[in-house]
């Protein structure tokens, strides 16, 4: 019986294999992958290749283990492990840390191959990587720097648009911090390890991590991803200008550009900091202790008078705006309708925004022009709010007058009733 069975298998299996080979490509993808079958027998951890790979973008795109590692998944390794992972069948040992970029680049730099998956796919990552700080150090034999899998993982690679991905925009700060916030690990590189901490405190971090605004910049938006490197001094305004073109342009055309270059000041970050970019307060202008202008412009020196004037101009406008809001809120509390006032107040806010932006021209005249227009608008708003409050008073007066009328009529009625009563009792 047993021998008949084996005999049957011996004849039948080759037929079956031929049949499978001749079937469609889709069909062949679903056939047994002996690498996974066998590896999952002894790999148990969540992070082990055979388990993680199930949710890997390569797996769902139909890329097999053997497409990277070589070997033959057709062969049941439980029968012949040597044959399945035979170097003659292209099997290679897993790449070493410094071999990874090249390993991935075999496919990812081959547009002819990659365009099958997405005709618009990028294939410049490896090239970029070579220009990055990571890539340069790797070339010198430093095996601590990040390679592809440090950020993307080896077998759990996910699309950057997948929120569970390590390179999803909101995950990036954490991903970079795995190395960059580890003081022990970063020893010997002479760069700080508090970037994540600072970033979290920054306006960018607040928007991305707390407000969930995915357009807010993560680490890679300023440093690049595959070509990660700190922006050079002269490219800072370009980096910030990607999202802040107005301020960047104003700065470029300002007198400051020239002097900053002369003194080797890192453009935007001179005043705004790099990782710890925060909303500036009113104390940041002028030449006070907390002011950023005061870093260079001491009292009485060139530009200090303008700095103070700019501060005053914006502060006065801002105070007027706040005053409008207080009046508007008071009117609203008193039951007046302030929708129109609020609309105009929005326009005032836009002007204030423009004025604050105009500071980057470092021209008192320019700033004053905008605060002047804004002040005009704000004065209108204040008048509207005052009118609303006046209207409230008028309503009060109207109420008192009509109550007085009612009182007269009521008194007359009362007297009339008494009079009738008196006549009746008579």
């Amino acid at each position: 019986m047993k021998s008949i069975n084996r005999h049957f298998n011996n004849i039948y299996i080759p037929f079956l294999i031929i049949f499978l080979f001749s079937s469609t490509a889709l069909y062949s993808q679903e056939k047994r992958n002996n690498c996974i079958e066998c590896h999952s027998e002894f790999e148990e951890e969540e992070t082990s290749p055979s388990i993680e790979f199930k949710n890997d973008i390569h797996n769902s795109s139909g890329v097999l283990c053997s497409d990277c590692h070589g070997g033959d998944p057709e062969i049941d390794a439980s029968e012949d492990q040597e044959l399945a992972m035979d170097p003659k069948k292209g099997y290679k040992k897993p790449p070493k840390h410094n071999e990874v970029p090249e390993f991935c680049a075999r496919c990812h730099s081959d547009f002819e191959y990659m365009k099958k998956f997405n005709p618009n796919i990028r294939v410049d990552q490896y090239e970029n990587y070579l220009t990055s700080q990571h890539g340069k150090l790797l070339a010198t034999g430093d095996n601590k720097v990040a390679n592809c899998v440090s950020c993307h993982k080896a077998h759990g690679v996910k699309r950057k648009t997948d929120p569970a991905s390590t390179v999803f925009v909101a995950q990036i700060p954490e991903t970079c911090s795995i190395c960059h916030s580890d003081a022990e690990y970063m020893k010997g590189y002479a760069i700080p390890t508090d970037q994540l901490e600072k970033y979290k405190e920054s306006i960018h971090g607040e928007y991305l991590l707390e407000e969930g605004d995915l357009s807010a910049p993560a680490c890679n938006d300023c440093h690049g991803n595959h070509g990660a490197a700190p922006p050079g001094i002269e490219s800072v305004h370009n980096v910030c200008g990607v999202c802040h073109p107005g301020n960047s342009q104003l700065f470029l055309n300002s007198t400051h550009k020239k002097y900053f270059e002369e003194f080797d000041f890192p453009e935007c970050t001179t005043c705004h900091n790099n990782h710890l970019i925060q909303k500036l307060t009113k104390e940041s202008l002028g030449i006070g202790e907390q002011s950023v202008c005061g870093i260079c412009h001491a009292e009485g020196e060139v530009g200090s008078a303008d700095a103070v004037e700019i501060k005053n101009s914006i502060e006065n406008f801002s105070a007027l705006r706040d005053n409008c809001q207080i009046l508007s809120e008071e009117a609203e509390r008193k039951g007046m309708h302030v929708a129109e006032i609020k609309y105009q107040l929005n326009n005032v806010d836009t002007e204030l925004l423009k004025a604050r932006s105009m500071v980057h021209s470092f021209s008192l005249e320019n700033v004053k022009q905008i605060t002047g227009e804004g002040t005009k608008l704000a004065l209108d708003v204040r008048e509207m709010a005052n009118d609303a409050l006046k209207e409230y008073q008028i309503r009060r007066v109207g109420l008192v007058i009509s109550l007085f009328f009612i009182f007269i009529a009521g008194t007359a009625l009362y007297l009339k009733i008494k009079d009738i009563d008196r006549r009746r009792t008579k």
Binding site: H337, A339, R395, G410, I417, I420, D421
Partner: protein, 357 residues
């Protein structure tokens, strides 16, 4: 001048015999004793109703009953139309005061047993008017299409859904569809400005005619009234004095505490916290919450709704069930029922404002 008026009067009298009516009114008397004050409550309710009709018609000039335009049109009334804020505020305040005085009027009649024979039908029409007032309140609440009213209406119409067999139909009927939408708004608007006013007009006319025809009731045991006053002008003028006072209070409330409009309803936003119906539905709303989810095999809400319905019908039938007062005997049971109802409604309403929240 005088002759003109007499001529017109005679002309009318010849055709409609109005002298009889005048003579009847001239002889009509109102008893004076310690509870005379309660006779004025119906009149004040009537005043608020008249104010509702006038302000309601005025609001119709600018209001738009669509989901897109309702909130904006009310906002427009309150900001752009001269005295729009006042008219709208008065309509809202007067609505609430009307319901309040409907309650006061009803309970005073109940406790004085004025419903007893021969005034049973006056009571029946009165209770129907009370139910219609509540319906007015419910349908009018949604019309500004703000967040609070939107979700309160959603919850309110939901409750009807627990009634077996017809519940789902009633909910669909009230909402004009599966959910509270613009269709609901248009529909409730129709009820508020056409269906209910029509019903009120007929029932109110009957109610007032009955009151006038039968005169004021005297409480059980008050055999002989020492003093009386003429309905016209003595009582009428006093009524009017009360009206003036009420108008003054209304003016103060409307001007000093203008009715708020709130935020426009967004059907897709989650319900905000603290959704509550108007105060006069609170006691029912809270009672529903007191019921456990299951009573024996029945749904708690179903039992509660059933009890409301039974009480509602019982309330209409009070004059026919109170056998003692029918025979001019004291009937403490109904006094106790009345006082219990006042305490229950009062305490639960206050509690849901200050304790349950």
């Amino acid at each position: 001048m005088r002759t003109y008026i007499t001529n017109i009067f005679d002309w009318l009298d010849k055709r409609y015999n109005i002298k009889v009516v005048i003579r009847f009114l001239a002889e009509k008397k109102v008893p004076i004793y310690k509870h005379t004050i309660w006779y004025y409550m119906g009149g004040i309710t009537l005043l608020f109703f008249i104010i509702q009709v006038i302000t309601g018609i005025l609001l119709l000039l600018y209001y738009r009953p669509t989901a897109e335009g309702a909130f904006e049109s009310v906002q427009f009334i309150m900001t752009q139309v001269h005295y729009g804020w006042l008219i709208r505020s008065i309509h809202s305040w007067s609505a609430n005061l009307m319901v309040l005085f409907v309650f006061i009027h009803m309970f005073s009649v109940l406790l004085l047993k004025s419903y007893r024979s021969p005034r049973e039908l006056t009571w029946v029409t009165g209770v129907l008017l009370m139910y219609i007032s509540l319906a007015f309140g419910f349908t009018g609440y949604l019309l500004p299409w703000n967040e609070l009213s939107f979700f309160a209406t959603k919850v309110g119409t939901d409750i009807a859904g627990v009634i077996p067999f017809v519940g789902e139909f009633i909910v669909r009927f009230l909402r004009g569809g599966e959910d509270v939408t613009g269709a609901t708004l248009t529909r409730l608007f129709g009820f508020h400005v056409a269906v209910l006013p029509g019903a009120v007009l007929i029932i109110l006319a009957i109610h007032l005619l009955m009151v006038q025809r039968q005169g004021m009731s005297k409480p059980v045991g008050l055999k002989e009234v020492k003093r009386e006053m003429l309905f016209f002008p003595d009582f009428f003028l006093r009524d009017f004095l009360g009206w003036l006072f009420a108008i003054g209070i209304l003016a103060i409330l409307a001007a000093v505490f203008p009715w708020e409009l709130g935020q426009k309803a967004d059907p897709f936003s989650p319900a905000p916290e603290g959704i509550k119906p108007e105060w006069y539905f609170l006691f029912m709303f809270q009672t529903l919450k007191f019921f456990p989810a299951k009573i024996l095999i029945f749904d708690g809400e179903l039992v509660a709704t059933f009890i409301f319905a039974v009480v509602g019908i019982f309330w209409i039938l009070v004059p026919f069930l109170d056998f003692k007062s029918k025979k001019e005997m004291k009937s403490p049971i109904f006094s106790i029922i009345g006082i219990f109802a006042i305490l229950y409604v009062g305490i639960i309403t206050l509690l849901s404002y200050f304790v349950f929240k």
